[in-house]
């Protein structure tokens, strides 16, 4: 065979293989979403969102306790993690040469790569052993620790993107440094920071491992953060590995709810970057 034709053939074959790779990569996503819908949507009802779980073996009941639990745990985690992460990000962007900034940046990268179960063990050791009980608060702290490096990196990059000339204009007008940072720099970078924050929240809302021995999970509705609390990912896990067929059904439905929460947050995150006044106009 002509050598040139062979080479051409190889090139096309490789492209074919690559397209096959794309299809293989995309297929699981389609299947997962499809299965979630098919297997989970059937169990979604008003009751599902508002009722509590029923004793094993019975049908019906819902995951209201887990929805509330996720809201509380993730909410508190955001209250702790977002200000810390954003503050640290601003610091590293405004004082880049500072030794603390380089250290923090490096440590944040290490934190980003730390498995979430290790963070869970840390929160357990730090809080659960000392307070002698499992608590939603410990879970929130674990989640917050996951959020901080994520939010810090995106904030830092966005603040760095704000043109130096804007800062100068504000300073020349008589703005103090802190006012310049808040009213001008932060405000300009805000859409991106909101996006980064929402994405971090979405990511953390789906985490199970850090909650396994901090918030522990619960079968009951609980508003007390110093006690164990249910959460959507924990509920999915417990129902999935449980022995009852009804539980497996519920696992699918709960997973569907969880995915919806994560998706809604992710989409809201992208929408935030399309605000009226931004760097991009």
């Amino acid at each position: 065979m002509n050598r040139r034709v062979l080479r051409r053939w190889v090139s096309n074959a490789m492209v074919g293989l690559m397209i096959a790779a794309v299809v293989t990569a995309v297929l699981p996503l389609l299947f997962i979403l499809l299965d979630l819908l098919l297997k989970g949507a059937g169990s979604l009802s008003f009751d599902f969102f508002t009722r509590m779980p029923v004793p094993a073996g019975e049908t019906g009941g819902g995951v209201a306790h887990a929805i509330v639990g996720t809201l509380i745990i993730v909410g508190i985690a955001s209250l702790i993690g977002l200000p810390l992460g954003i503050g640290a990000g601003i610091f590293c962007a405004e004082y880049p040469g500072n030794r603390l900034a380089t250290t923090t940046r490096f440590v944040a990268d290490v934190m980003n790569g730390t498995p979430s179960i290790v963070v869970g063990v840390f929160a357990w050791a730090l809080i659960v052993t000392r307070t002698k009980q499992f608590s939603a608060l410990a879970g929130s702290c674990a989640l917050a620790m996951l959020m901080v490096p994520m939010v810090m990196r995106t904030t830092e990059e966005l603040v760095k993107l704000v043109p130096h000339s804007l800062r100068e204009a504000a300073l020349a007008l008589g703005y103090s440094r802190w006012r310049t940072s808040l009213a001008i720099v932060l405000r300009t970078a805000l859409p991106g920071i909101v996006t980064g924050s929402l994405l971090a929240v979405a990511r953390v809302a789906g985490e199970t491992a850090p909650l396994l021995f901090t918030a522990l999970g619960s079968q009951f509705m609980n508003f007390n953060v110093t006690e164990p609390m249910a959460a959507l990912p924990l509920t999915v896990f417990n129902y999935a590995i449980g022995p009852y067929e009804e539980w497996h059904q519920l696992a699918w439905a709960t997973a569907l709810v969880l995915i919806l929460v994560v998706l809604v947050l992710s989409i809201a995150a992208r929408l935030a970057t399309r605000r009226r006044f931004g760097i991009n106009g």
Binding site: R8, P28, A88, V110, A125, A240, V262
Partner: protein
């Protein structure tokens, strides 16, 4: 010429202004920011400290021999991490074997060959894969993937490749191979997106030079672009490895949670992350707990080293920013 209006009387008078002012606001602001920035290394320091003190009993008891201890028996109070380490490494390695060719194929396709209209949507879809929580992957794995594997794929593999010890033995369903497959699906988006960034950073002149010399498009990729991007891609792969090592939920739901080392990939296995997830809340005795903390400590150390290495490699290839976490 534009006429400029004369100043109106509504304008405020210029006050005699002093030049003095306080800098309290600035100091307070910087202080708050510094505190936030300090929190990061301080927290990390606490993490290492707590892991260490939690694991102390086991460290004192076993020392480094823990890594080679091959028995993990909570009942007999004998703890060795070897099966766990082997399981972790094996599952991650298998996952890489599956995920890397796929991810690279997709990344190369998206940067070099795909029609423009297709690039963004496909990249977006793959990003969505990364947003799916681990426990949902596990759920799907248990009820969809494993039945399919058990019914079709595993028997097929046993029939065709059964001469290899890897594909012999009884088929239960939950297994090392099943966990590796789900791991592969989970790390694929990360390897793909980092590889894509790395490939996009390769100057177009490289490809053009190769094409000008008469190479086919595929040859341009292999001869000009991949070598240039090589260290960055290796970095992406190692980053994927780092993620696979720490993945907990999906693995523990699919791997069978049996701590023995077996040649068969159809056999159940165990990983460091899975054992912590499974046994922590029901740990019997202080030594058990400390051993689990020791495992956590080891897992932490391994991921730090692997991720550190990955970042160094990625930085080296035309990347102005190191790929850090999931950014916006």
């Amino acid at each position: 010429m534009t006429t400029v209006a004369a100043p109106e009387t509504a304008a405020p008078e210029r006050e005699p202004a002093s030049l003095e002012g306080s800098r309290v606001g600035d100091r307070l602001f910087k202080g708050l920011l510094t505190a936030a920035a300090l929190a990061v290394p301080v927290l990390m320091g606490f993490l290492v400290y707590e892991l260490y003190t939690g694991a102390k009993i086991a460290m004192v008891r076993y020392g480094l021999g823990f890594i080679w201890g091959s028995t993990w028996d909570p009942v007999a109070e004998q703890f060795g991490a070897l099966p766990l380490i082997v399981g972790t490494l094996l599952s991650s390695f298998l996952a890489l074997c599956i995920a890397v060719p796929l991810s690279l194929g997709v990344a190369i396709y998206l940067t070099e060959f795909a029609p423009r209209a297709v690039r963004q949507p496909v990249a977006f879809v793959i990003e969505l894969l990364a947003a799916i929580p681990s426990v949902v992957y596990g759920l799907w794995g248990i009820f969809v993937l494993i039945p399919v594997l058990k019914k079709f794929v595993f028997p097929f593999l046993r029939d065709t490749l059964g001469f290899l010890p890897f594909f012999q033995g009884p088929i239960y369903g939950p297994s090392m191979l099943a966990a590796s497959i789900i791991l592969a699906i989970m790390i694929m988006p990360f390897i793909m997106s980092v590889s894509r960034e790395v490939l996009l950073a390769v100057p177009g002149s490289q490809r053009e030079a190769a094409l000008a010399l008469g190479a086919t498009r595929w040859e341009a990729v292999t001869s000009a672009i991949l070598p240039y991007a090589r260290s960055g891609i290796i970095g992406a792969v190692i980053l994927g490895l780092g993620r696979a090592l720490g993945e907990t939920m999906a693995v523990t739901m699919l791997i069978g949670n049996r701590n023995e080392i077996s040649a068969s990939l159809f056999a159940p296995g165990y990983t460091m992350a899975a054992v912590i997830a499974n046994e922590f809340t029901e740990a019997v005795g202080d030594l058990h707990l400390a051993s689990l903390a020791y495992v956590a400590f080891l897992l932490f150390a391994v991921t730090v080293i692997v991720n550190g290495g990955a970042r160094l490699l990625i930085w080296r290839v035309g990347g102005q920013r190191a790929a850090g976490g999931r950014g916006a």
